[in-house]
């Protein structure tokens, strides 16, 4: 099969969704006060952007200046906050931690959920709905309610030191990665199984007649055809795992193991907080998600809405 037929076969849901969201509705506003709607929406948008803009602007301002003149002032611009935040927050280390947690967690989640989705979509077994429900329900439970057993279990499971220097699954990246995978698989399996169900069965028929086993069908037919859905989910999951706060905070107890999201507290002094420094730290932390947001926005939106609505 040529690459062309592989990508063009089902309609690219990512593109379709983006254009659908941006398309004006036919026969939209028809009341007399047409100017009112854009004005209202512009005001709402500016209010919504305001907290972030405030943080952005003040992350570039000197603490002494804003402490004296307040935030309703203009001036005192500097880049020092970023330099200090980077050093005090030890962001080099924490970004590295985030990367070695997020990348394996997302890849493993996508692979395992693709496996489950494939079986659910490819075969019409009675157990399929129950299987999917088993994974999806896991995704929706409050993580705090599972904390005690997971925490105790991880603390008592001993692993060799070459596997994790803490000697147990608690305080290890591997344990945290597995927990993230367990929680996110349900959502991805649901989205992917809906996507895979839309693939024509004839593809598998001809593959079976050609003597291709399940492994080949999965890797050479299903996965390539699911590329748009996988890309959307990869973007969404990267953002979610990067933003994950609870498990990282409770399962990794040493500050130097924290990923970026859990390490913001380093910027907060015991008795004194330089808010402009915190703003700069917040912006540094937000940069990866904002980059993803602006570059891959349509994937992000598609991933989110694919899960909630069908088709």
């Amino acid at each position: 099969m040529s690459d062309q037929t592989l990508t063009s076969n089902p309609v690219d849901p990512v593109r379709a969704r983006e254009s659908a969201l941006l398309r004006p509705r036919e026969g939209g506003a028809r009341s007399g006060r047409r100017w009112l709607l854009p004005v209202v929406l512009t005001i709402v948008s500016l209010i919504w952007l305001f907290p972030l803009l405030l943080a952005l602007v003040n992350s570039f301002r000197d603490y002494a200046y804003t402490a004296k003149n307040g935030y309703i002032s203009w001036g005192g611009f500097t880049l020092d906050n970023y330099k200090n935040a980077w050093e005090q927050g030890d962001f080099g280390l924490h970004f590295w931690n985030s990367a070695i947690i997020t990348v394996p967690a997302v890849l493993l989640t996508l692979f395992l959920s693709a496996c489950v989705a494939f079986v659910v979509a490819r075969f019409s077994w009675k157990i399929n709905i129950a299987l999917l429900g088993f994974f999806m329900a896991a995704n929706l439970l409050p993580p705090q309610a599972l904390l005690i057993p997971v925490y105790r279990m991880f603390r008592s499971i001993e692993v060799p030191f070459w596997f994790s220097e803490s000697g147990t699954l608690l305080n290890s990246f591997q344990g945290l990665i597995l927990v993230n995978v367990a929680f996110q698989t349900g959502f991805c399996a649901f989205v992917l199984s809906n996507y895979m169900k839309a693939l024509p069965k004839e593809l598998y028929e001809s593959a079976v007649i050609d003597g291709a086993g399940i492994t080949r069908q999965f890797f050479q037919i299903t996965l390539p055809l699911c590329r748009p859905a996988l890309a959307a989910l990869a973007v969404l999951q990267t953002t979610w795992v990067y933003n994950e706060f609870f498990w990282a905070t409770v399962l990794l107890q040493q500050g130097d193991k924290f990923p970026v999201t859990s390490s913001l507290n380093n910027l907060r002094g015991q008795f004194f907080t330089d808010n402009n420094l915190v703003a700069a730290g917040s912006m540094i932390i937000a940069i990866p998600t904002l980059v993803i947001f602006f570059l891959l926005q349509r994937h992000f939106v598609a991933g989110l809405t694919l899960g909630a609505t069908k088709g």
């Binding site: 952007l49 496996c115 489950v116 994974f135 329900a137 409050p142 309610a145 007649i209 086993g213």
Partner: protein, 297 residues
């Protein structure tokens, strides 16, 4: 020797295929069973015992409902936490979610600049709630915060127990409304345009069309949005944890569970009873969600 294999349909599996399919299901199932379902059962079972978390598991005694009795009677933060969770739910349900839906409906009416409106309103959704807690500190801080600078007051918006829940809720609603807007807008775009046309031809006003035609068609997404609101309110944690670890006016059930496990005093029985209450509430929500999400099958 050429053995001609007969084609018996696509569900026909060779021995090797059966193993592969088995692994594809069993490996993810085991991970989720181990890290989600067994802990869920574990929380429920532990809530009926007196385990202190230190002694061996063999020394456990069942104590019936004593833990539940205790949290309701001699555990001061319990009732405030329940109350805060209910307030949280109320604000999300009556304010943030309807606001997000309203934004979606307005944006759906198709004004120019729709990309700008959409992007601005759901920008907070890509940020973690932990980060949002810090971003809003510039507004809420007592000495330099914008809010006090404008009003001339000296309220510690994150610290004062009479206001900090509302401060946190404003920040949480900011993000939640964007999330709901996005989900709802996708639903609105999926409504068959011919329905609206028909209503228009019949002379229905725009308001009537929305409430009598569009809203009923959107029933599944309405329920999904409501369940998401309930689940998010129950799971609320990150924001209050970064503010003050869920103390002093910001107690939530989720933070109480966490304090009972990682805090100085680990009270496994209390924590598990609280966890079980959370699981009970969420199981109802999960059930509703799954019924809607899987209806097509």
């Amino acid at each position: 020797m050429a053995t001609t294999r007969k084609y018996k349909g696509i569900d026909q599996l060779s021995g090797r295929d059966k193993i592969v399919v088995g692994l594809m299901v069993v490996v993810p199932t085991l991970i989720v069973l181990w890290l989600v379902w067994l802990p869920a059962i574990g929380s429920v079972l532990l809530s009926f015992t007196n385990w202190d978390g230190i002694g061996p598991l063999s020394g456990i005694k069942t104590v019936g409902l004593k833990n539940y009795q205790d949290i309701a009677t001699i555990y001061p933060p319990f009732w405030p936490a329940i109350q805060h969770n209910l307030i949280w739910l109320g604000v999300m349900f009556f304010i943030a979610t309807p606001l997000g839906m309203l934004f979606a409906v307005l944006i759906d009416r198709g004004a120019a600049g729709t990309r700008f409106y959409q992007t601005s309103i759901y920008l907070p959704v890509v940020l973690s709630l932990a980060l949002i807690g810090f971003v809003w500190q510039l507004i809420y801080s007592r000495d330099q915060g914008l809010l006090n600078a404008i009003t001339g007051g000296s309220t510690d918006w994150y610290g004062d127990p009479s206001v900090n829940l509302w401060a946190a809720l404003l920040a949480a609603s900011w993000r939640h409304a964007g999330y709901i807007m996005l989900l709802y807008l996708a639903g609105l775009k999926g409504v068959d345009p011919s329905l609206r046309e028909a209503a228009k031809v019949d002379g229905a006003s725009e308001r009537t069309t929305f409430f009598r035609v569009v809203l009923p068609v959107m029933r599944p997404i309405n329920i999904i949005v409501l369940v998401v609101t309930f689940i998010e309110s129950l799971r609320a944690f990150d924001l209050v944890w970064v503010i003050n670890k869920g103390r002093n006016g910001l107690e939530l059930i989720s933070t109480l569970v966490t304090q009972n496990v990682v805090g100085e005093a680990s009270r496994i029985g209390f924590g598990s009873a609280l966890a079980t209450i959370m699981l009970l509430i969420s199981s109802v929500l999960v059930f509703v969600y799954l019924r809607i999400a899987m209806k097509e099958d």
